[in-house]
Structures are given as C-alpha cells and as structure tokens.
Symmetry: C2
Subunit: 448 residues, 2 copies
Amino acid sequence: MIDSAPLRCLTPSGWTPTQLRVGTDGRIQRIDPARAETARFALPGIPNTHSHAFQRAMAGLAERQENPEDSFWTWRELMYRFAGRLDPDSLRDVATQLYAEMLEAGYTHVCEFHYLHHAPDGAPYADRAAMSRALIEAAAHAGIRMTLLPVLYMTGGFDERPLEPRQRRFGHALDDYLTLLAQLRRMENDRLRVGVALHSLRAVPAGAMPALLEALAGHDFPIHIHIAEQLAEVEQCLATRGARPVRWLLDHAPVDARWTLVHATHLDAGEISGIAASGACVSICPTTEGNLGDGLFPLRAFLDAGGRFSIGSDSHVSVSPVEELRWLEYGQRLISHRRNLASEPGTPGTGEALLRHAWTGGAQGAGLPLGCLQEGAFADLIVLDPDAPALAGARDGDVLERFVFAGNRPLVAETWIGGQRVVAEGRHRERETIARRYARTLRCLLAG
Amino acid sequence: MIDSAPLRCLTPSGWTPTQLRVGTDGRIQRIDPARAETARFALPGIPNTHSHAFQRAMAGLAERQENPEDSFWTWRELMYRFAGRLDPDSLRDVATQLYAEMLEAGYTHVCEFHYLHHAPDGAPYADRAAMSRALIEAAAHAGIRMTLLPVLYMTGGFDERPLEPRQRRFGHALDDYLTLLAQLRRMENDRLRVGVALHSLRAVPAGAMPALLEALAGHDFPIHIHIAEQLAEVEQCLATRGARPVRWLLDHAPVDARWTLVHATHLDAGEISGIAASGACVSICPTTEGNLGDGLFPLRAFLDAGGRFSIGSDSHVSVSPVEELRWLEYGQRLISHRRNLASEPGTPGTGEALLRHAWTGGAQGAGLPLGCLQEGAFADLIVLDPDAPALAGARDGDVLERFVFAGNRPLVAETWIGGQRVVAEGRHRERETIARRYARTLRCLLAG
C-alpha cells in the first residue's frame, strides 16, 4: 500500500486536504484527512477519448497549401501517404512518445481508434494483431491506461466501393474483424480495455450493420464511430441513405450510453436532441477540428438538451487537454460574441464545468470508472505545479479556471497512474530515452 | 564583439549555417558562414504588438458566468476592479514576470499599450510617469525590447460622457498627455521606443482629434488605437458619428504606415480595402479575442487586399506567439471549412507565411527595424530546441511549420536580445527570482 504525501484533492465532496492510501491493485483504498494543509492541488486525470497515435508523427507536415481548395480531403491524401510508411516497430515508437506527452499534459487514459491493421500492401501480418500489439506495448511502456478500439473499415464510400489500394491496410471482412476483436479481448487487463469502433458510415455498409450490431448485442463494449465531421459526408449520406448521418445512425442502431460519436460537428436541432436523449457521448476534438477546418460543434444547444461530451486530441497537432477545453469554449465565444458558454450562472466556473464533462464523458467513452477520486477508483490523478506563477495564490474556487484559462504553459507537475508517479516535476520518468528512440524513428520515416 | 556558436539562421537569403558577429551595440555586425553544419535553427524573435501587462495577473480569474448575457462588457467590470488594486510596485512585478514569460515563448519585443497612469483614486502620482517607469523598469529587468505606448483616454463613451470614477486613473487632458509624452520621449534609448496610443474612438472625442493629430504631425511615432473590437462599439459609432469606426478613422485621420489598428475585428469590404490601402498594420490578438468573444478577423479578404498584420497577446490569457498564429489560422479554417488560408499555392508553408507577417507587421507596429536577421539589425533571435521531439528530423522547408503547428509545448531553447542570451535551455536567466516576487505580489493583490 502506498501512502501519498498530503494533497489538496478534488473528491466528490469538494477540495479536501487528503492523504490517499493506494492498494497494490492501483486503486484508492482510503481517503484520509491530511494532517497538514498543502497547496498541492490534485485532480482526476483527464481521459482522451479520441486518438490516432500514428498521426502525431506528421504534426506540422501538412500545413502547406496544395491547391486553393485545400481541405480535409487534401489533408487525407497526405495522411494516407504517411500511414503507408508505418510498421509495428515504428508505430510503437511513435505511440510511446505520444503517450508520454499525453501523461505530461494531464491525460491519464487514451481511447485509441486504431485502423492501421495490416502491412502497407494490405496483406495481414502473420500475427493479425501485430499493429494492435504495438499500441498496447506503447501504452504499457509509457504507463497510460488505454481503451483500444480496433476499427471496422469495409468500404471506400457511401456507394460501397471497394477500398482503394492504400486503404487496404485498414480493411476487414466482418468475420475477420470479429476474430481480431476476440483475440484482443483475451488480452484485456487492469490497464487495457478493448472496445469497438466503426470507422464511419461510409466505411461500414448499411447492409453490414445488422450483423455487426447482433454480434455486439448483450456486450457492454464501448462503441465509437466518426460521424458528421465533414459537410461532404453529410451530403453524401443524405444522397445515398436519405438521411443525415447522425439521424440515420439514431434510426438504425441502438445508440445508447455505450456509444461515443466522434466529432458530430454538423447537427440539426433534431440530431442534437436525439444524441442527448440517447445517452451517447460526443467526443469533441477542437484542435484537430480547427486544423482540419471541420467546423464548430453546437455546444450550447447540446448542453441545453442535456448532452454529454468528452475531449480527444485525435490527430495530435496539439497534445494538451487545456488547449482542447479552452478552444472548445473560445470557438463558441467567437461565433456568439458572448463569454462563458459552457457554464451557467450560479454554477462553478467555466473551466470546472468543462473539466467535469471531460471526466464524466471520458469515463463513459472509455468504458471505465475514470474521472473521479473516490474509494475504489483507480489512483489516476494529476498534481498541479505549486510553484507555477499562473497558479500563485490559487484557491479552491479558481484553481481549475486558472488551470484551463491562464495560459499554455504546462502546469502539471505530477501524473499518477494506479498510484504510480509516471510524471514528476513535469517530466515523464523515461522522457529522454523515449524521445531519443522517437527521433531516430521519425528521421527514418521522413527519409522514406 | 560576441561570436555566436554556429546557427542555422533564417536570413534574407534563406536558411544558412552562420556564425553571427554581434557588436557591443547589440547589433549584428557580420553574418559569416559557419564552419560546421548544425541543427540549431535560429529565427528572428517575434514582436508582440499589443500588451496590457497588468492583465496577466487576472488570467483565469474571469471565467465564471456572471449572468446569461456575459460578454466583453461584463469582463470589463472585473478588469476595472482588478486594475484598481495596482500601484507602481505591483505593476512592475507583474510586468517583469509577464515579459520573462514572453521571452521564454519567443517574443523579443513588446508594444505596451499603457493606460493605467494615475493612482486608483484618479489623482496623478507625484511623478506623473510613475506607472510608465514601472513598465520601463520591468522591460529592462526582463531584458525585452519595448515600444511604450502611453494611452490618451479622455471620455467614457461616444457621447463624450466624463470618465467614471474607476476610469479616472486612465484619463488625461490633452495637454497633460502631451507633457507625459514629452517626458517619456526623453527616456528613449536603444531598448526603449516611445509611441502614442489613442485608447479608442469612444475615449477620444471627435473634437479632440484635430489638436492631437496636429501635435503628432511631422513625427514618426508609432500610433496605435483599439478599434472595431466589439459590435456594440460599431453600433454606437454609427449612431453618434454616422460611420462605422474604421470608416470614420480612415476619413478623419491621416492613417498610414505609422498606424496600428488593434483588433479591427468587425470590418466591411470597404474598410478592409481601406486599411490595406492606407499601409496601416492590424494587430490581431487571437487568444484574447477568443477569450472575450470579440469575433473572427476577416483574414483571407484582408490578405487578398494586400493588408499587413502582426500579433499581440493583449490580455495575456496565453503568452505564446505560436498559439496566437495557430489559432488565427484555425479560426479561418473553422468558418470556411478549408485549410491553409494564410498561404497560397507555391508559397512557403502556412506557418512561415504567418510568421513573416508577424515579423514585418510587428516591425512596423513597433516602429523599429525588427524581424529580420541581417547586418546592422538588432541581434534579437530565438533558437529552437534541437532535442524537441516535435522538431526531430526538421528541415529548412518544414521547421517553421512544425514550430507553429506541431503542438503547444515550448520549443524555444534560447532567446537573444541584442546578442545577449536572456533565455537558455528554455528558462529565463532569472526565472526563479522573478517568479517568486510575482507570486508574493499576486497573493497580495488577490487578498486585496
């Protein structure tokens, strides 16, 4: 059992000076009152509900205008070319670096939306889970808790065209996919949950949905899907299926609290209330949605309908929960010319309101009891830097506001996973060795 | 004379391995070819053309919804209350911390838009320049180059109402203002330029403009003004002066390259082309404009008209040129559903395009030859961290893209001002002592 030094912990009953007793299973056994006051504020680690780990390695390499109609779709061409260079070893090195960065930034869990299954030519690896294993090893090495979401990707568009050659490494027939899923489920452990992802409606034919849903029935897998990220996708879905994507999904799948809709940027009023009523979570990825020019999520209307959301760093152009949360809120302010859209009068500050969604929505998306420091919960937490100027004189009522809104310097001093300190003084315990290996791998990828 | 270690410098002829010879005057005397290759990329430091230093201390303290109509105007109430607590000593401590943070983030110059002139009760200090001196001392201590812009603030609205009690510390009669300006001009030196600022059209009556402009005629002062930040300001200007603010200014003042229009968020097509044709610079402050819900600047149309811009961190909710530049671009992408709006096919990447504006617009706004590493220029530069994972394998063609777009970790290893290294290994040379003093001062301010 580990006894923590005194922390000012955000527990279900508010900020309390505590000493955490953590069992050998990595869970909080007891929360005792601390004997001394402390300015070391500790809060639940933040779940990251959408990640394509390999894309971290191309951050900053797609910021050149290829043609005047540059958009998500031209970016996707670059992403495909880059994806074509990765193998299990390089994927593991990239993901380990990314996950170490996530831990330093305050993420303690990642939902990895994994579609890079096969060799670049589309042939399965001898071990069909080779790429999944690379991600699992990366998470274990970095020390982050993970929900692995192997992705079902069957077709190249709403017209059910076959996959293009460069998409073949993403693809599975449904049976092969279910075999992979079963194989991965046998690898589950305390730090690894396995769920399911449908790449998108354009990648899973309408005719394949019933068999898939039948296979998932009765299980409590988290189920994730990219949806309504792009206007072209909305138009194609309307044209081929006679409904907007979210409407179609709500009408054809038993969408409930197991489901996470990733992006869901383009929604009409009925879709907003439909998602909220279903209990599903929306994974909003503001820095990637900004980078890709997706559009702004209708946050206030969704919250008014009772909607739940979490955040994801997706393509990892930024790896920072506070940049995601800050710019989710700022995007709303910029179009409404108002302030503090994610909170309401009389409630806690906007930073705290945003974080509470990231915690509860994140736990739901991950399919794990995350985001709450209570007895029996994983001891996954972050300790803010008591010496950071941006937090000088911080109090219970403003510390989360300052964490989210007082700037872009890293304010996380420590990150604990299962009671183990994987980040101390703002640095991952293996920062240098992981970064060296990443740099070597990235140079090879870029030379390729 | 200082000889630099080899640097891969961005000079007017491109990226070159160089050794800089810096004279005792802090200027580059010679740029020699380096004898060895190096991965230490060096680029001009970035000018910050809009700062209200004292607001750094309230970052994160105004993120709570006061009422459902929360906006810029409710934020301004909080800002006034906070401003009422500052005196020269506390202002100096806050500004020193801020300027050290700017240097660590890659800003090497600041335009300080300074309106906190008098004691909290509105009475002038015995030394009428006491608050200005606090800022000058802060800049000198931190080591940042500065253009100090004392602000003329005369009335409380377009209706020319007198200042409210809490605004009185901002105010001057025109003659007193010109006296202060003359006093400050006598303090100019190699690191300190003095310019002029009009707070806004609502704070400088139409009738006072001719006398002011006459006093400024024939001088080459930089002249800054807040303009068209808020829709209410546009409406009030239309109602009282019969024109939108930028239109009115262009019609009533000799706006030219001396002028910097701060924000200029709300523009019609004629105002966009009018600013561009005038040669004035627009100081865009994306993180503050996001925080305050101002709106999105019409960047692409302004660039198409040949407009010039720079960036400012304004209220300092973030202190990072790359967050400003990244989100300036992302804001455009989010509303247009396209990518790479600040660049054009065949030109350098979007990060480089944005930085080039920040350098040339920043030099113009500062009224100083900044933003270009050539013989005779100040040796004000930043060296990127060669060990940063986000820059692994960086090349001439992508290093600036990765600096701007590959994440929110600090990538600046060194910052030089006049050939002196004020930041090394990412840390200001007096980081700890400055931060300790700031923390003590902030605690007093918050207790007040």
